[in-house]
Structure formats: C-alpha cells, structure tokens
C-alpha cells in the first residue's frame, strides 16, 4: 500500500493548480464569467485542452492522456479548490467515460480528438423529474423508426446542457419505466430538430438545462454501446463521477478549512483573535477530523472507481459518498458559523465553497440513498 504520488502525478497536480488556482481568485471576475454565456471561460477551457486535461481518461493510442482515477482525482481536487466553472465533470468525467467505456472504435475515433482539443463539449442528459436518484428510472422513450429511432421525453437538471454541442441522452428502447434493462445511450446534436433547451444558473454558480426531445430522429449509429444494455455502464460512470466529485469536495473543503483557520487567526473580537477561544479551536479540530476522514474515503473511492467487481465497487463508492456528504455538510456549516456574518454573504469566498459542497451532497445520490445502496449490496464489513 502506497499513498505517494508519482513524479508525473505531482507534475500534473502542480500544473492544474497553476492554471485553475488564479483563474477564479477574484470573485467579481468569477461572477462576470458565470453571468455570460456559456457560463464558463472558453479561454480557460482551451488551456485545459493544452494541458491535456480534456484528454485525460482516454488511452494514449487514441490521442488521450491515459490517466486513471488518481489523475482525475488530482484535477477534480484543483477544480474544487479553485471554484472553477468549466464543464469538466459533464464533458470529460461523465461523457468522456461513457464514450471511453461504451463507444465503438469508430465513434471514439470521431469524438476523442474533438473532446481533447476543446472543440466538443458534451452533456449527459439523463435525469428526469420523477427519477430522483434512481439511475434506471428513465421514461424518455426511443421508438424504432426505419433503421433509426425517434426520441421523445424530457430531461431535467442536465449539467451544462445549455452550452454543450452534443448530448448523450438516455432513452428507453424497451421495458417499463424503472426497469434496469432496456436503456440505451444516444449521441444527439444539441441543435438537432426537436431538441429544445432551457438553460438556467445553478445554486453554486454553474449551469444546467431542462431539455425536451420532441420527435428527435437519430440513426442507429448514434447509439453508444449495445441497444437496451446501457444500465451497467450508466452505473459505472455514475460511480466514477462520484469518485470525481468526492475529490472536488475534498479540494473545496480543504480550502474552506484553511480559509477558516486564517480567519480564526486574524479576526479579533473583545481584543483577541477569535481563534484563541477554546470552543472555536475545538470546532476547527472537528472540521479537520471530518476533512481527514473525507480525504481517506476520497482516496478509497479513487482506488475503487476502477474496480471491475461491480458489487465491490458499488459498496465502496456508496460508503465514500456517505462520508463525503457528512464531512461536506459539517465543514460547510461550521465554516460559515465561524466566519459569522461575512460567511453568509456572496462577497466572500467561504460561502461559495459552502454552496458548492452542499450541491455536491445532492449530486448522484444523497446520504439515505447511498446507505440504502450499500445495504442492498449485503452490507459492508464482510465485503471489505
């Protein structure tokens, strides 16, 4: 067992930090970027591409970076620290891995270079209003028509779905609404006839979209992976995404904890730094404990995200998400509390971390969901 980074990984981490760190240092600048379409910096996105970050998960043979979960973890930590707005999770982690693991060689050949050079952004149009966290609850329907399909349905809260050039859409080609079987992935142009998008800002300054598909015609070759068999792939990529946002959460929480320590050391009340009050010291220690426990499970999730034994992967990822959620909530709430008034304003960085951490808690399954999933897997201790 070995927790050390390789030299290459260290280099990656440092260069990502150098890129993202200063980019959103200025909150007013961040707000301006968020307010204008596409809601992130295209300039910065190009630099992500230059660094090879957009090619991260793909193999070197097909023009990728050949990175694994540890590399993804390092990038996502930096995104968390930096409060970055770019659609890395949507394009690279979610859609990139769907393509890497599900697409045909021909599809990969067509798509990977465009993702890698930053010209193609993608969004994963999956969630529906009735589904809550159930990954297999898909009501959008793909009806066979000639040699292709016609899509019909509505998707909710599609991350960066308003600006993506292509969408990967889940649709049911057979089965009933909550059937794990019968789901298919389709690659659809975002401006295809019948696709209608309504973009919106998210609570944490990012972008989302509600997307409706009204008789959208797609060819058979638009399907990624086997028709009707996308269930396991969706679950696997959701687990990879959870490991990624776990890393983002740890990046954000560590930065927030550091910010809070600074504040405790510099802010004075009643003539002394507030960090001299024992109650606030112990609160900072409990935040630190929550952070270290989260970091441990971040590493564990990174290790298990690539696990081929699906039940073991599910248990590990769900356990990690529960810990991340718990730590994120505690650290976020306490950081705000220790900052006092300034912590609840948009004018200070702490609150933005708090908001992002809160939204990570709600993403890809909340705590009760993952406890149920872990429980359904027959528990944990014996599987460890």
């Amino acid at each position: 067992m070995n927790f050390e980074l390789t030299d290459e990984q260290r280099l990656l981490r440092d260069s990502v930090d150098r890129l993202i760190g200063p980019a959103y240092d200025d909150l007013a600048h961040r707000r301006r970027i968020a307010a204008e379409p596409p809601g992130y910096s295209r300039e910065l996105w190009a630099k992500y591409a230059e660094l090879g970050l957009l090619a991260l998960p793909f193999s070197e043979e097909e023009g990728g970076f050949g990175g694994g979960p540890v590399e993804t973890m390092l990038v996502m930590e930096a995104i968390g620290r930096g409060l970055a707005l770019e659609p890395y999770l949507a394009t690279v982690v979610l859609c990139g891995n769907l393509i890497r693991l599900g697409a045909s060689a021909a599809q990969r050949e067509a798509l990977v270079p465009a993702i890698a050079d930053g010209s193609l952004t993608l969004a994963f149009a999956h969630l529906e209003r009735q589904a809550r966290y159930d990954l297999f609850d898909v009501g959008t329907y793909a009806r066979r028509q000639g040699s292709g399909f016609v899509l019909e349905g509505e998707k909710s809260v599609v991350l960066y779905g308003d600006s993506a050039t292509k969408l990967i859409v889940t649709a049911r080609t057979e089965g009933s609404r909550r059937d794990p079987q019968g789901i298919t992935l389709f690659l659809v142009d975002a401006d295809a006839p019948g696709v209608s998008r309504r973009g919106f800002a998210t609570q944490d300054g990012q972008r989302g979209a509600a997307i409706s598909f009204g008789s959208v015609a797609v060819t058979e070759s638009a399907a990624i992976g086997t028709v009707g068999g996308a269930g396991p792939l969706i679950e696997q990529v959701a687990d990879i995404a959870i490991a990624a946002i776990a890393a983002e959460a740890v990046g954000a929480a560590a930065a927030l904890h550091a910010l809070t320590l600074d504040y405790l050391k510099t802010r004075k009340q009643f003539g002394v730094p507030i960090g001299s009050f024992q109650v606030l010291q112990h609160r900072a220690v409990d935040m630190f404990t929550a952070l270290e426990q989260a970091r441990s499970m971040e590493y564990y999730a990174a290790m298990m995200a690539a696990e081929t034994d699906a039940p073991a992967r599910r248990s590990a990822i769900s356990a990690a998400k529960v810990q991340i959620n718990k730590s994120a909530r505690f650290i976020g709430q306490q950081a705000v509390q220790l900052h006092g008034g300034i912590g609840v304003t948009m004018e200070y960085r702490a609150g933005h971390y708090f908001k992002r951490l809160t939204m990570i808690e709600q993403a890809f399954g909340d705590t009760p969901y993952h406890l149920r999933r872990l429980d359904a897997g027959g528990g944990w201790l014996d599987a460890a």
């Binding site: 909710s156 009643f270 009050f277 509390q337 939204m359």
Partner: protein, 402 residues
C-alpha cells in the same frame, strides 16, 4: 399545574386564527408558506390590516394602540401569526424602536412618530452592528458630534436588515469618546433616511437575495430631537431594546408552518414507486425535529407562564430559546433540502417575479428552487442576534455560574 389552554385562551386563539385567515390576503400567505420573496408592499398591506384592528402593536400600552393582553395571549397571537404564514408586524417598528420611544421618548416624539410607526408609514431599520464589531456591540465607532442645534453623524453600520426599504433608521453613535467604559458615552438617535449624506449599499446574501445592507453616514446633520433618551446613555435604550428583541425568539410558529409544509411536500415528491413520505427513515427524521419543536414549545410556555406568575427571577429556561429555536429552524431547512434532492440545483432569482401557485417548472419542481436558498439563508439564525456561541457564554455565566 394545568398544562392545557383555558377555554378563554382557546376562544382567543380561534378568533385570531379566523381573523388572520379571513383578512390577510391568501396570495401573500402562500408566498410565505412557499418560502418565496415577500415584497415591501406585502409587509405594508398586512401590517395596515392588522393596525386597523389594533393588532399590529398589541405589546404597546393601550394608550398608544396596544392591548392589555396576558403574556399567554401575546404568545398565542404571535404563534398564530407565524403558523398561519402572516408576516410578523415589522419587529424594528413594533418590538424595537416603538417601545424605546414609548419608554424614553418625549411626548412630542411619541405623538409624531408612534402612529406612523404602528401603521408602517415609517419603515424603521436598526443601525447597531458595525464592521469589525460583530458580537462586541459596545465597541462601535460611529460618531455623533453636537454642532449648534444639530448633531453631525459620521460612520458606518452593517448587516442593516431591509435598509433599502426603510425610510427611518434608529442607531447608536458614540457621543463621548472619552467615557471610561465602552458602553458609556453612546447615544441613541432616530434619523430620517432621506437626510443628505446617508448611503445604502446592498450586501448580497448566499441565497442571492437582498436582505441586509451597509449604511454609510457622511456628515449627516440631524436636528437635536433626533436624540431619544438621555445624551450618552443610549446603552440603556439598547439594553431595553435587546431584551424586547428576545421575545418570540424561538420562532416556534414558523417552524411549525415549515414542518407542515415538509410533510405535504414529501408526500408530493415521487420516490421509487411512491413518494418520499413512504420512506420510514425520512419520516423518523421529521418526527425527531417535531418532537424537539414540541419540547421547545413547552419550554417557551413555561417561560411565559413564569412571567405571568410574576416570578422575580427570570426563568432559566428562557436562555435556551434562541439556541434551540435556531437549531430547529435550521433542521427544517435541511429536511426541505433533502426533499428537493437533485432538483434543488436550479437557481431562481428570489426577487424576480414568480407566478403565484406555479408548482411545475421544466427544470424540476417549482417549489424545489427555494430549498437551497432557504437552507443557505437560515445559517444566519445561529449567527445573528448574538451567535449561539455567545448565547452559550451568557448561559454559562449568568445561569450556570461558571
């Protein structure tokens, strides 16, 4: 010991409830229940309806439009206002500056200011907090200097709630910088916000809303009668005011209303083949908050009953109302956030128009977009009015003798 409401108290409660439901516009009450933005006009409308029926200022003396109610009646009234989603009569007017003017003001000040204060013709805001002072209120730096028959005020206030809607401000300013203790040499002023030299700058809160402000005073000249009470003794007024601020601080009625809504929403939100309310684990977590709230309500009633019994020493249970009340309010926002789930993500400008009763939005559920902002916003309840840490310091010292 009889822990039931008397027949008279039940009749009083029913009368108030009926009055509120029949007289306060339903659209406003719905917006409050849904956690949506309530505008200045909504507050004014409601308070004027109450005032027309002598219900805006029941805590004031009868001579100034108050009611000769028992503490229990006052409590029941406050409960009914909150749990029926009626905006509280503006606390800056009714609970704070009004009683100060009544207790410390001149007859002329009373005549001139109390009627418009009760009717919300004057909207007051509170100029106490300053940057850098935080919990240490007495370290304030705003200065007021006598200049002929006027006072000239310079300084800055912050966290000034709804200052953008206020036309008057009551504030503390230092009039004698040489005083021995920080609490001495402070005076209490009543200032028309249209006086030249006052600037209001909004502070955006985490929910995106505009609720608090910074207020700058740049050589603001106010007449001599802007002073209320004795010169340099403004701390007496402030202490008197802060003691009143504590009443109804548990906000039991608001939490009750929120919990009712949580039950309704959880029944409405799909989960699996049914609704989230089918999840026993979720229901148990709701019940735990409800039990905590029931205990807090009983604690609040014990405090009120001990007031009525005329006990000389304050009931020690009163000290926990703020802490427990804020914890329960925050717990309700966590439950609402959980209900919203992934649909908490879309952001909707809280001050933009929102169609009444719109419950479906293409991006998810119409009601869900208030869950996260309310959760963010309610973090303030354990910070303002003396943070919960400060409250614990006070209880440790004053109640437990530590």
């Amino acid at each position: 010991m009889d822990l039931r409401l008397t027949r008279e108290e039940i009749a009083f409660r029913d009368e108030i409830r009926t009055f509120l439901c029949e007289n306060i516009p339903e659209a406003i009450r719905n917006r409050i229940a849904e956690g949506r933005h309530v505008g200045r006009e909504d507050y004014v409308t409601c308070q004027r309806i109450l005032n027309a029926h002598k219900l805006a200022t029941p805590n004031w003396p009868v001579a100034w439009g108050g009611r000769d109610w028992t503490p229990m009646q006052r409590y029941i009234f406050g409960e009914e206002v909150q749990s029926n989603n009626v905006p509280d009569p503006l606390p800056f007017n009714v609970a704070m500056v009004g009683p100060v003017i009544i207790a410390f003001g001149t007859e002329a000040q009373k005549q001139r200011l109390l009627p418009p204060t009760a009717n919300l013709d004057i909207w007051w805001c509170q100029g106490f907090s300053e940057p850098g002072a935080g919990s240490d209120l007495a370290s304030l730096k705003t200065r007021a200097v006598r200049d002929g028959d006027a006072w000239v005020i310079n300084g800055q206030k912050t966290w000034t709630t709804m200052a953008q809607w206020a036309n008057w401000i009551f504030l503390l300013a230092r009039t004698n910088p040489e005083a021995r203790k920080p609490q001495e040499g402070i005076s209490f002023f009543l200032v028309d916000m249209s006086t030249p030299g006052i600037t209001v700058r909004p502070i955006q809160l985490l929910d995106g809303g505009h609720e608090v402000n910074e207020v700058f005073f740049d050589n603001v000249r106010v007449p001599a009668d802007a002073l209320v009470g004795t010169e340099h003794r403004g701390w007496d007024c402030a202490k008197f005011l802060l003691a009143n601020e504590r009443s109804n601080i548990a906000r039991v009625g608001i939490s009750k209303s929120r919990l009712r809504r949580i039950r309704a929403l959880a029944r409405a939100v799909p989960a699996g083949d049914g609704s989230l309310w089918d999840d026993e684990d979720f229901r148990h977590r709701v019940l735990q908050v409800e039990i905590d709230l029931k205990a807090l309500e009983m604690t609040q009633l014990r405090v009120i009953a001990s007031e009525r019994e005329g006990s000389r020493t304050p009931n020690p249970a009163s000290s926990i109302l703020k802490i427990k009340g804020s914890e329960i309010q925050q717990a309700t926002t966590e439950l609402a956030l959980e209900i919203a789930g992934p649909f908490a993500l879309p952001y909707h400008d809280p001050e933009a128009e929102y169609p009444d009763g719109a419950n479906d939005l293409p991006e998810g559920f119409g009601w869900a977009d208030t869950a996260a902002p309310t959760y963010f916003n309610y973090r303030k309840t354990s910070i303002y009015g003396g943070s919960n840490e400060i409250q614990r310091n006070i209880i440790a010292k004053m109640v437990l003798g530590l």
